[in-house]
Amino acid sequence: MAINGLDAKQQEKAAAQIKGTPRRAFLLQLGFVLNGIAAVLVTVPVLGYLLSSFRREGPFRSWIALGPVESFLENQTSLAKYRNPYTRAWDGPTADIPCWVRRMGGEKFQVFAINCTHLGCPIRWFQESHLFMCPCHGGAFYEDGSHASGPPPRGLYEYQYKIENGQLWVYGGQLPTLSQPV
């Protein structure tokens, strides 16, 4: 603690005095406490705001209509697209989610997520080879979605589906990952 106009000895004395004064020490501690309270008052709402996105409440997943059953040909696999049920006004085309619909005949379907189970790249259906193939690292899947070759650790993510009022519905609404498939 440097105090101008005093020699070293006097400075030492002054510093010792300041240190030893109970009122000053008290006010210093009070200052710390008040600043701490202010810091908490600011931090709590900020953390609450930020951490709110860890909490995944709300109906992110729901039943989504993909279109009339007749629009999917029997023994064919085709691309369908839906608007994600949970969306914001400024999402634009990013909330349009594609998926692969395989109609095995009658009301038997399989609906696969677009994302490869390796790292989420968009898989594509090849009618010629009857395989789904991923452009990123060469993952391949059979027409029933099971793993054929490459790095993917499992078969394709498959949506739950139902048929109601002549429409094909799937249950979805979030990006599928290994720990949370569809």
Partner: protein, 230 residues
């Protein structure tokens, strides 16, 4: 007139010590053998960073961080905004060069053994800067919000989803929602424009302070012993 300007400059310098900072940095003594081209990569990376700040601010004047409009605003920059294409190209090349020159810097420091005592903290702060720079490169390419950015985020989410137990909440936090959409872009925009650059500026200050206080290393040579005091 010149005398007057000189007096003004001296008046300011008396109060803010610019010449002293200059003498302490540009006039800082280094080993004679360190006057080598091998020692320019750090300054080179910093120069790239400064170019990135200037061009980044210019691009932010026009760019719209909205999932629906981001790509359209880039097309506006490319085709309508005067010299917009040039600044975008500078920012793009600047980022490539920043990463490349930074890696040269890391390799040089590693091979010359400059990370050793007493410069461990210079190295550690440099590693943080390396991570920040790579973070800037990733978050920056996300801002285009084209197919590349979208599926790049998908890969990021797939990786985050592999974290044991905490996977799904981390993915949700990263995307700002259940899918890659509007809030994902806002998040990466905030990281790219506020959070990471602020961190870089703070750590670069520390890094440069350490370069001055702990010095830089002597040019190594076979059989040349390192002086303990340097």
């Amino acid at each position: 007139m010149i005398e007057r300007l000189r007096n003004i400059a001296l008046w300011i310098d008396d109060r803010v010590y610019i010449s002293r900072i200059f003498a302490a940095t540009a006039g800082h003594k280094v080993p004679r053998t360190s006057g080598s081209w091998f020692y320019v990569f750090g300054s080179g990376t910093l120069l790239c960073f400064m170019i990135q700040i200037v061009t980044g601010i210019c691009l932010a004047l026009v760019y719209v961080p909205s999932a629906n409009e981001a790509y359209g605003s880039l097309e506006y920059l490319n085709y309508q905004q005067q010299l917009g294409w040039f600044l975008r190209a500078m920012h793009n090349w600047g980022s490539n060069f920043m990463v490349a020159i930074m890696l040269l810097h890391v390799a040089q420091v590693f091979l010359f053994g400059a990370f050793k005592y007493p410069r461990e903290m210079t190295w550690i702060s440099g590693v943080i800067l390396l991570l920040c720079t790579l973070g800037m490169a990733f978050t920056g390419q996300v801002l285009r919000f084209d197919q590349d950015a979208y599926w790049g985020l998908g890969i990021g989410a797939a990786m985050a989803g592999r974290v044991p137990l905490m996977g799904p909440p981390i993915v949700h936090m990263m995307l700002g929602g259940p899918i890659i959409a509007g809030e994902t872009l806002s998040r990466f925009f905030t990281l790219h424009v506020f959070v990471i650059p602020g961190t870089i500026i703070a750590i670069v200050s520390l890094h440069l302070r350490l370069v001055l206080t702990k010095g830089i290393n002597d040019y190594p040579g076979p059989g040349k012993l390192v002086k303990k005091e340097t």
